[in-house]
């Protein structure tokens, strides 16, 4: 009896020491879940989810404060990826945050631009170049299509243009075949 108590006590003590040591030695900085969720998000930084960017939204999801269906640019595929990552059931996109749209890029009508720099300040990825009282333009390659530059423009000279299909972006489609059951 006493032997068993001592043996188990020693075992518990040793395990406790080991776990205590591991907790300090292998301490994980930050929340690794946030990184993983952030990697799934489309990084448009549009804020349609109600947070200041993709990372804050990832933090909110990790903390359980936000639902996974608040990202319109990620769309249904993005929700499915989040659901799989978090082991939840996918759900339809929350209409409150927006609707899923085809990928677009902002284009500035350079004739109408007055050079106010407001769009430059709004762009979350610094994809607009220009200077005060000079024409501005969007670096198409860097534009995430977040639409944050539209509202501040005082002359409404920014338009969202969908990506035109081109040889380099063209994809083979899912085979449109109807599988017939064998008679």
């Amino acid at each position: 009896m006493i032997v068993a108590v001592i043996a188990l006590g020693l075992l518990a003590g040793a395990s406790g020491l080991l776990l205590g040591f591991a907790a300090i030695r292998f301490k994980v900085e930050g929340d690794p879940m946030v990184e993983q969720i952030d990697a799934v998000l489309p990084q448009t930084q549009c804020g349609q989810c109600g947070y200041a960017g993709c990372r804050p939204y990832a933090e909110a999801i990790a903390a359980g404060e936000a639902d996974i269906n608040r990202c319109p640019p990620g769309g249904q595929n993005g929700i499915a990826a989040l659901a799989e990552l978090l082991g939840r059931d996918p759900k339809p996109l929350d209409p409150e945050s927006g609707i899923e749209k085809p990928k677009m890029a902002a284009v500035i009508d350079e004739q109408s631009c007055i050079g106010c720099t407001l769009c430059i300040q709004a762009c979350p990825v610094d994809a607009i170049v220009g200077a005060a009282k000079h024409m501005h333009t969007v670096i198409a390659r860097e534009c995430t299509g977040c639409e944050l530059c539209l509202a501040p423009c005082p002359v409404d000279c920014i338009h969202m243009i969908p990506f035109a299909p081109s040889i380099t972006t063209w994809k083979w489609t899912y085979p449109a075949v109807e599988v017939k059951a064998a008679a």
Binding site: L41, Q43, C54, T117, V125, D126, A132, W170, K171
Partner: protein
Amino acid sequence: MSALFPFHGGLKTVRHKTESNQTPIQAGILPPRLTVPLRQHIGAIAKPLVQPGDRVLKGQMIGQPDGYISAAIHAPTSGVVSAVDQQPVPHPSGLSDLCVTIESDGEDRWIDREPVDYHRLHPSELRQTIRNAGVVGLGGAGFPSAVKLNLAGRSEPLATLMLNGAECEPWITCDDRLMRERAAEIVAGLQIMAHLLGPAEVLIGIEDDKPEAIAAMTAACAGTSYEVRPVPTRYPSGSVKQLVKLLTGRETPVDGLPVDVGVQCFNVATAYTVYRAIHCGEPVISRVVTVTGQVHRPGNLEVLIGTPFAELIKQCGGYRDGVERLIMGGPMMGFALHSDEAPVTKAANCLLAAGPAELAAELPVLPCIRCGACMDVCPANLLPQQLYWHARAKEFDQARDCHLFSCIECGCCSHVCPSHIPLVQYYRYAKNEIWAQEKEKQRAEQARQRHQARMERLEREKQEREAKLRQKAPVRTEVVPHLDPLISVPSPTKGEGSGQVG
């Protein structure tokens, strides 16, 4: 004769070679207008060097290679550039791409052609000459040849230089005719390649249904150490990894290239263009195209790049009745053209006007019965059925784990499938989706980094502003100098962080 090492699977297909290989290569007629796409190769699109209104000479460079993996484009005839814009190109999508349109002046006047003595050139100069001549793989892939002719960075010398004259696809005979008629030139081009690569052996693989080509090439190789190796007629022996296995017994690794096992392989037509580039000073502005199927006089034409396909059909006597589809390439790996107004490109080896007899009948697709016939014929040793399930269910990670990217899209599996499932279509779809997802990921990562950089910049600017404010308020510090003497005010760095207006 040396032993062959048969690859797994493959098919005995119908041949249909005699329709077009009985007559010599004919010169194509000079069309009034040529549309030359600036992307006829794998890699970056060539940069246009001409503007509408410019006068060009035959062989003048009109598109400059843009980057290492890119190729030059040349004017196929003399004339005036009428447009540099988006025009339909031969592509499964039927979409347009940047093209230079040349109105021919009918004179067909050449630039000054300068043959070079390649023995006196430094290898890098020789490669540059080949690059500037726009030489790309003419077997269909269109990979810039100068890149493949550079072995810098590889420690081991090349074991085998291989010339691919297998031409395994049904209907196509352009390489066959080229080998029969211009074997000496092909071998001269091969010599230049061997000069650059210094291989231990040089092999030429030709399917044994082309005895005349084998005889011509053997005769042309007399006096050299080059070996012509007839290979059994079995589709797809002309696929590079399969031919390497067949001739050398070496297996190209998954995600690797034949050069990783010491083999570099070129198409016979590519060797011919290397010969033209070096010995004649002529860039790639024409190629031999097989025009066959439901046309009145099938045959091989040597046509200028940029000639509309309709001109080729016209020269071959026009369509016969019952043409349903115009296919560029062979029936196994080719694709249907959206219009016969698309131009000939460097990759266009065959134009097949297909009627009901040439096309596999569209039979109803039945469920997979797991018979495994596809697995038996797969030359890449894959499990096509497994790939099919994953691709169909859009399980791209699993498809990739089943080596989706080792699939050469030869079409053997679809051909034998008793349920008529268009297997290759599923694989193409899955590959495209994976590539698109990867591109999307890269874009997202780029956006994330830019956003982070912006946040850091804003934070830095904010701190600088605060520091400036503190410095600008010396009155207060003088009034109460004892308050916090330890704070050292950093001097604001001028210019930093002002790259953007904000």
